[in-house]
């Protein structure tokens, strides 16, 4: 007998939530929730940035670690990228740009800042052996400070049109799904993926099996940082500005998406497909509550409950499987 993959369950939850909103929609606001193409696009658009971060965070969680720095790295990458994307006629230019720089420059800078932050995370964890929670907490606080210091708290505006284009239309959605696909394949079919799971499942056994655990962890955290940098580029391009307050609490949403999608904080378990569904669940809840015109407060309350419920369900599943053998 072949068991269904756990993703089937997550997908079911996603559908059930969507149908619930559909039903409530007809009862309370006399509209369809799903039969509205624009709403669906906006919904996915809203969570694309979280989704990009969550793809990286999922990999970190699979190694048994955690990354709290994502949100701050989004802000730092957004600031740096935006400063290099200012148009030449900007009034308050951070760097007096004489010409519009090609769009590749700010994008590359944003990614590089993210990767650098991830490298710091990974090096701290692999080099000193401190818990990932502490290392990334430190980077989280420092990166936020750096983002503010960079322009002394001033927002960066007047960005070039090609840069803004990265964040407009469905571009973020495409980037999110492409990122998810790439890392889905990487986790399943490459040595990088196999080693990532092995380290999370049993780090000591992984070392004895010949894996350079430290080196590999640095790679995983750097990738997670890179994706946070990408999220920073997307955020600033969408807002056509850079602000030091961007990405606040994004790390928690990303962790939530991964956990709702079945990643286990004890490591060794998790899939990108699950994380994508988890991200969409967050999106449906956000957009559904707005659609029903319910206060944002309730939305947060429910979101919290969903995260806890996802982990409880996961524990329950695991216990049942253990007693069945």
């Amino acid at each position: 007998m072949r068991r269904l993959p756990p993703e089937a369950g997550f997908l079911l939850v996603l559908l059930a939530l969507a149908l619930a909103f559909e039903l409530l929609g007809w009862i309370f606001v006399h509209q369809s929730f799903l039969a509205n193409e624009q709403r669906l696009v906006v919904m996915i658009l809203q969570v694309s940035v979280i989704g990009v971060i969550a793809v990286g965070v999922t990999q970190v969680i699979i190694t048994g670690g955690i990354d709290l720095s994502s949100g701050s790295v989004v802000a730092l990458a957004a600031m740096v990228a935006a400063s290099l994307a200012q148009s030449s006629d900007a009034v308050r230019a951070v760097y007096p740009a004489l010409v519009d720089l090609p769009v590749l420059v700010p994008v590359a800078a944003g990614l590089a800042v993210g990767a650098a932050a991830g490298l710091v995370n990974g090096t701290l964890i692999a080099g000193t052996g401190i818990p990932p929670f502490i290392a990334t907490l430190g980077v989280m606080v420092s990166a936020r400070g750096l983002a503010k210091w960079y322009t002394r708290g001033q927002p960066v505006s007047m960005l070039t049109d090609p840069y803004a284009a990265i964040g407009s239309g469905v571009a973020p959605v495409v980037i999110f799904l492409a990122t998810a696909l790439i890392f889905h394949l990487a986790l399943r079919y490459t040595r990088y993926g196999k080693f990532t799971y092995a380290i999370g499942a049993n780090a000591q056994a992984a070392r004895i099996a010949g894996i350079h655990v430290g080196r590999h962890l640095i790679a995983v955290y750097t990738i997670a940082g890179l994706l946070s940098g990408l999220a920073g580029v997307l955020t600033s391009a969408r807002a056509v500005s850079g602000q030091a307050g961007m990405g606040l609490m994004y790390e928690l949403d990303a962790i939530a998406a991964a956990v709702i999608g079945g990643a286990s904080l004890s490591g060794g378990v998790g899939r990108i497909t699950g994380t994508v569904i988890g991200t969409l669940i967050l999106g449906v809840v956000t957009s559904g509550f707005t659609f029903l015109r319910i206060d944002a407060y309730y939305q947060e309350i429910v979101k919290g409950a969903i995260i806890v419920a996802a982990v409880v369900a996961d524990q329950y599943r695991r216990r049942r499987r253990l007693t069945a053998t």
Binding site: R191, Y192, A198, A201, N202, I211, G268, A324, T325
Partner: protein, 503 residues
């Protein structure tokens, strides 16, 4: 104790009557009936998956049976939780100990029952006094205030036993308590068990080690495929009888190792030392040879193995592989020179529990084969793993089964297979058959023999004397971090080895 129903002889301490239990797809226990008497040590034997653990879990209240009955001193009891069992006087000492490592011995024993003063603060002096009294009764010398994590495994087990007895338990269940103990530690454990038995406690003793039975068991029951196959005492059952009942077939005696074809030196150590662990260790290991390493736990055997595999950096001396001095700064470095290492602790340092059999098998070989530009050629990797799994006779529903669902013996075969895929020139085995049932053990021994016949060099650490004697071409004995002798096969006898190991 034992006020029996009027007019009847004293009923046995615990009667297990017609117990059955099935899990989806498998009958784990079928109609099992057996008795445990007051002050008796009742050994339960059986291969992994024979139903011993299920039976013990039912007695300890962890599982509920589908049918059948438990009678404690003649009275029928229903045990729905371990706590209920404990309150009825039945305590289980698990293979994985359930102690709180950062708390003291006394705190662990009396947890939830600490003596309190009027302000509900714990009276530590009284706590320690009680603990000392309890430990003295068992003739165990452990400091009540010691942190549990600082104690060796054997001492922790005794703490568990003390805790069980502190509940005035009348039935103790011990699941392979000696699997991680040295012979001397096991002897001390036996003394504690006997001391408990003389106080009227009945003990269920689950074990794989037939050698232990004559030392500890009063009664023996053998389970196979969930059924109670036979019973007797150490006097009435021979080793062969028990093995036959366990496996349901005649078992060839341990294969005598083929004579070594003394090839060139594959691995050698020259005055190798790790400060505080072992000192001045020198030996030569030839291709086509099994060098057994005997010694008590704490003799530095395992640390030596870890050093030869690059997990520990030597503080002095030299390792040579195929004649060249090497510096091994990581397992990866050792592996790239053709060294493999099956560690003694499957769970802690071997298995990836949440991953499949396939992923557990292929992980090491992926560092070298079946990968191009980082992408795994998964068809080829899978084929190689399938061939390996069938060559090793791994019993599993499929390669995508999680390894944690396999029995210990099959897990061990998978771990061995992980290294065999790399075709190692030198294989270090630390307790290769610990916690493995008789059938799988013989198969693992055959594999090792075959590997050596093909020219590999094997360094085999084992606490099981029969294994050392049957498998090794030469035996190196260690005692407290020093090599006390290297015996040729003809000269290696149990007495000689114990003499060198215990001094």
């Amino acid at each position: 104790m034992g006020t029996a129903a009027a007019g009847r002889a004293t009923p046995p301490l615990l009667e297990v009557s017609r117990l059955s239990k099935s899990f989806p797809g498998v009958a784990a226990l079928e109609d099992v009936t057996l008795h445990l008497g007051h002050g008796r040590v009742h050994a339960l034997m059986g291969e992994n998956g024979a139903g011993k653990s299920t039976l013990m879990k039912i007695v300890a209240g962890v599982c509920t049976p589908d049918s059948g009955e438990l009678r404690l001193e003649g009275r029928s009891v229903r045990l729905d939780s371990p706590r209920q069992a404990l309150e009825s006087g039945i305590a289980m000492i698990h293979q994985e100990l359930n102690l709180l490592p950062t708390m003291s011995v006394a705190e662990n024993i009396w947890i939830r029952r600490e003596p309190l003063n009027a302000l509900k603060f714990v009276r530590h002096r009284e706590l320690n006094r009680r603990t000392r009294a309890l430990l003295e009764r068992l003739a165990v010398d452990i400091d009540p205030e010691a942190e549990v994590r600082t104690l060796p495994l054997a001492a922790r087990q005794m703490v568990e036993i003390a805790r069980a007895l502190s509940y005035d338990s009348r039935v103790l269940i011990m699941d392979e308590p000696t699997s991680a103990l040295t012979e001397r530690e096991a002897e001390r454990l036996f003394a504690v068990i006997r001391a408990s038995a003389t106080r009227g406690v009945g003990i269920f003793y689950v074990t794989h080690r037939i050698e232990e039975l004559s030392a500890i068991a009063d009664d023996i029951s053998v389970l196979r495929d969930g059924r109670h196959i036979g019973a007797g005492t150490p006097a009435t059952l021979s080793r062969e009888d028990i093995i036959r009942m366990m496996v349901g077939r005649e078992l060839a005696p341990l294969p005598a190792a083929a004579p070594a074809q003394a090839g060139p030196v594959a691995l050698s150590a020259h005055a190798l030392s790790v400060a505080g662990e072992f000192e001045d260790v020198s030996f030569e290991l030839h291709a086509g040879e099994i060098l057994g390493v005997a010694g008590l736990v704490g003799s530095g055997r395992s640390r030596l193995a870890e050093t030869l595999f690059g997990l520990v950096t030597p503080t002095a001396g030299e390792i040579r592989i195929a004649g060249c001095a090497v510096r091994l700064d990581s397992p990866a470095a050792a592996i790239s020179r053709g060294v493999g290492f099956v560690t003694e602790d499957r769970k802690e340092t071997g298995c990836f529990p949440s991953l499949s059999v396939l992923e557990n098998l292929e992980i090491s070989v992926l560092s070298r084969d079946f990968v191009r530009c980082g992408v795994v050629h998964w068809g080829a990797a899978r084929q190689a793993c399938e061939r390996m799994a069938s060559a090793l006779k791994v019993k599993t529903r499929g390669l995508s089964e999680r390894i944690e669902n396999l029995s210990g013996g099959n897990q061990q075969k998978v771990l061995l297979g992980r290294w065999l895929l790399l075709k190692p020139k030198i294989l270090i085995l630390d307790e290769p058959t610990r916690g493995v049932d008789v059938g799988a053990k013989a198969e693992i021994h055959q594999l090792i023999t075959r590997l050596v016949a093909e020219g590999a060099a094997v360094l085999m650490i084992s606490s099981e004397m029969p294994e050392i004697l049957a498998m090794s071409h030469r035996v190196m004995v260690m005692h407290e971090g020093r090599v006390t002798g290297i015996l040729e096969r003809q000269a290696a006898t149990q007495v000689k080895i114990m003499d060198l190991a215990a001094r």
